[in-house]
Symmetry: C2
Subunit: 354 residues, 2 copies
């Protein structure tokens, strides 16, 4: 179900047009280098244009609700936050050694398959694919920073905006670092560690940063920022908890990936942190994170995640976070339009199926 | 031999102090996340403080020679170019799957060794090391962009500076992409391809960008920029050609790495592109790029690189580029002080032993 929070056709068209323009300008610059470099920009364009664009829409919704008028400036900031997202997703795939995202070959998969077809050794081709992804992420990060740095705003707004954007990457990197650390299982992760990791890796750049950028660009009183940051954190945690549940219990067709992959990877989620406390976890501890985990293993894991009460706990936590975010939204001087948008967004984050 | 182009103790102290301050501020911000994240910033600080700082010195030398007076602005731009360099070096190591740089464990090596010591599986630990490097590169890239975006300059200068900085990463990524492509040996590389790759990967951000940033910040006539760009290209090519020769024929102690590694990696240099044209190349084609290439194999390769005339050709090319850069330097309206610096820098690039 798509809710009103993510339906805004006119904004979508403008956003798509500006994103396409930003990428096309760089693709043109790439033409004086090499054919593979142009192909890299084509692959980047595909990813950018196919995204759900949740983050830039949130920024634009917030900006307009706050009464912002400089549409061109807000549009470029919205594009920057989407390009930052694309950079992080591409680098996340490098860290996870993934060739596929949402059921399709990612940059690593496309470039390595192409090189194999042209006669390259498989290990060299894989390295070529991963190098292409790593560079694509660097290029997206740079394109995002350039857009933000070039915003035509006064010095004070510029300082705020640069600070928010810098912090978004800084916090997200801290969260990603913690995610990989927890997945090594050197220490058993507490639910506190896992929640903090989610807030840092996802909530900060996906929900906090768009809302804070909207407020800064619209010149909203700094006192509102803290409340917006809290709302952003809750939305991000709801979004990510739903993601973790879908990763194990979702419909593979709808989510576009195997429900074995998080379990094979040993992804340290709150579901797992809770289930681990149950005595029956010992029966399955060995297969969790095993690269060759079978469908039967996954069924035993799911059964224990349910029997341990971990699934119920996570669903209760999602419901609780939703209550808290609804309270926060109600209890503010936020514009009416933004309150209804944020309410709808909380519902979307809680109920999404993909 | 260190030449006067890279000796400037007062500037060095200021540069080191500002770099240390920039990193320390971020390390403090990291403390509210996790212990491993703080350790990542400690590792970054080590790398940043131990660098040769060729690029920021060139920027500051140029800026002062052009009569620039805003020392704080130039210093921050110089730090940004150094952090960009550190980001590229760290990501280059990820692409090459290297654990060691200049004879010491790099971030990947340090973090993976630490995790193994703490009981992690070796594959997980390696992944942790590589993730740490990848994120460190992203963090350095972001720190660099933030410094550049926050420079206190007028709008026109800001536009120029942002453009130069964006282009530096864009061109370097094109060169790195070409480097990995050429190392797959799907097509035989021409000397033209290899020279273009070097200009893009190294010369653009290491020599062109510092000179162009110096000129833009000092408000130098735009007509000088093209000449500076040409000088930067030549210096970068000389630097890289010497690097390639040292990588195969250098003294391992001095260069701080094995002279087998470029040969094992199948690094596509001009030495190799020339040697490949010789009939005896067929005798060694198979061992070039072989992960288990032996010392005896490397001696045969070196013998053929010399016998083919490839080493002489590269040395002749270095000498030729030096002549051309000296002509360009002489034939300009550049300040006398900058001309002598650039001349000394050309000598350093040509004669360096590490």
């Amino acid at each position: 179900m798509r809710t009103s929070a993510i339906e805004a056709p006119a904004v979508d068209l403008e956003l798509d047009a500006r994103l396409a323009e930003v990428i096309a300008e760089r693709r043109r610059r790439a033409a004086r280098f090499s054919q593979p470099y142009v192909q890299l920009w084509d692959a980047i364009a595909d990813i950018v244009m196919r995204g759900k664009k949740l983050r830039p829409r949130l920024l634009l919704d917030g900006y307009h609700a706050f009464g912002g008028q400089l549409d061109a400036v807000a549009l470029d900031a919205a594009c920057a936050i989407e390009l930052l997202h694309v950079a992080l997703v591409i680098h996340d795939d490098v860290i996870d050694s993934d060739d596929v995202r949402r059921g399709e070959l990612n940059i690593t998969g496309r470039f390595s398959a192409d090189a194999v077809a042209r006669g390259a050794l498989r290990t060299r081709a894989q390295n070529w694919g991963e190098a292409s992804s790593l560079l694509a992420g660097d290029l997206m990060l740079t394109a995002a920073h350039s857009l933000i740095a070039q915003l035509d705003v006064d010095d004070e707004t510029r300082r705020s905006v640069l600070e928010i954007f810098d912090e978004a990457l800084f916090v997200s990197a801290a969260g990603e670092h913690a995610d990989v650390w927890l997945s090594m299982h050197i220490d058993d992760a507490s639910s506190y560690d896992v929640l903090a990791m989610m807030e840092h890796k996802t909530a900060a750049y996906s929900f906090q940063a768009p809302l804070l950028l909207a407020a800064a660009l619209a010149g909203v009183d700094i006192n509102v920022h803290e409340r917006l940051a809290d709302i952003g954190t809750h939305l991000g945690v709801i979004y990510q908890l739903r993601d973790d549940v879908l990763g194990v219990f979702g419909d593979e067709e709808t989510i576009g990936k195997s429900t074995l992959s998080d379990l094979r990877e040993g992804k340290e989620t709150l579901l797992i942190a809770f289930a681990r406390a149950h005595q029956r976890w010992n029966d399955v501890a060995e297969v969790f994170g095993a690269p060759h985990l079978t469908v039967a293993d996954s069924e035993r894991l799911r059964e224990i995640i349910v029997a341990s009460g971990a699934l119920d706990l996570v669903e209760a936590l999602i419901a609780d976070r939703c209550d808290r975010v609804h309270e926060l939204i109600a209890d503010t001087k936020l514009p009416e339009h933004l309150r209804s948008r944020l309410t709808a967004l909380a519902t979307y984050c809680r109920t999404r199926r993909s």
